[in-house]
Assembly symmetry: C2
Homo-oligomer: 194 residues x 2
């Protein structure tokens, strides 16, 4: 006979996402989440640093993926190209878990507190990207700016992926947003294309 059900972490995550979606983040107590997962509040805080982190603990894996993609980009690739490859890799992960990622994004978008946490996670991703670029020999502030701009592109693409209906392919949205950024920073005036 098993003393405890397996995958406490996963059960807590599922319970939290469901309750945040049903009642909103602010109207959900940690005690409720724990109860739905068949655990206690104290155990929740053993797995997650705080009430928000339950939706973000996967971020470190994403970060490693991004860094690996930049590091593994072709030698001749320009910094922004390397970042673009990384964003596509990250996008593929989200697309893979579409049925989890999209509701999660909606829950985050609905809560200022969760948005704060998302922004700092994205900032951490940007910092890691910048680091990886520096290791490729890209000097600062170019490295930081490329990384920040890349994350901005990613954010815009994911937001459109989450809200647009009918939903489009994330990879395509990332590509489009990147092209749009290039156009806009090239100094093109809005009403007169070309």
């Amino acid at each position: 006979m098993v003393r405890w059900q397996p995958d406490s972490r996963g059960r807590l995550e599922q319970a939290a996402l469901a309750l945040y979606a049903e009642n909103g983040f602010e109207n959900t107590t940690v005690a409720e989440i724990a109860a739905r997962a068949g655990l206690t509040e104290r155990t929740f805080f053993r797995y997650f640093a705080d009430k928000r982190e339950v939706l973000f603990w996967g971020a470190s894996a994403l970060q490693e993926l991004l860094v690996a993609a930049v590091t593994g980009a072709p030698k001749g690739a320009a910094p922004l190209e390397a970042v673009a490859l990384a964003l596509q890799a990250a996008g593929a992960v989200l697309e893979e878990r579409r049925d989890f990622s999209r509701p999660r994004q909606r829950v985050i978008a609905a809560s200022p507190e969760l948005r704060e946490r998302e922004l700092i996670k994205l900032a951490a991703l940007a910092a890691a990207l910048a680091d990886a670029l520096r290791q490729r020999g890209v000097p600062d502030p170019a490295a930081t700016l490329t990384a920040e701009a890349g994350i901005a592109v990613f954010r815009v693409a994911v937001e459109r992926w989450t809200t647009e209906t009918p939903p489009r392919d994330l990879a395509r949205l990332i590509g489009e947003s990147l092209d749009e950024l290039k156009a806009v920073t090239a100094g093109k005036s809005p009403p007169t294309p070309g």
Copy 2:
């Protein structure tokens, strides 16, 4: 005889910044802040929504400034040019209160919780900028991306302004970062300039 000392809000802000700088954000209680300002905890929460907001209540004024600058930019100005003007205007405000702004930035940089709040404030600025661009006829996602990229430039510039020694002129740092962004998105390869 005055019943209360004037400018409770300002006293609370000063007390909070001083205590955050001395002991760190996490090691400071709201009760301590209130006591130093000669007030009670309850009064603190009447002025500020939470313990972090005390360092950010000026953000709405900055937002109005940015929007006004974009709206008032010359008719022919490209989106990124309009945003650049806005960033310079915002930078001028920070430079004006240099002796307050720089320590404040350092306190924020030292605390993850305060960084979270700063990021969401900057995201709000980006959203407002994007709105102002749309009112100039810039379509999405160009408007959003221009605004996001502009805020990234601003963030990088302010960070350098806060940490570099000796401190350089913020206006110049903003200009340089913007040029750097343009170069980087133009596809320039890192080791081979030109």
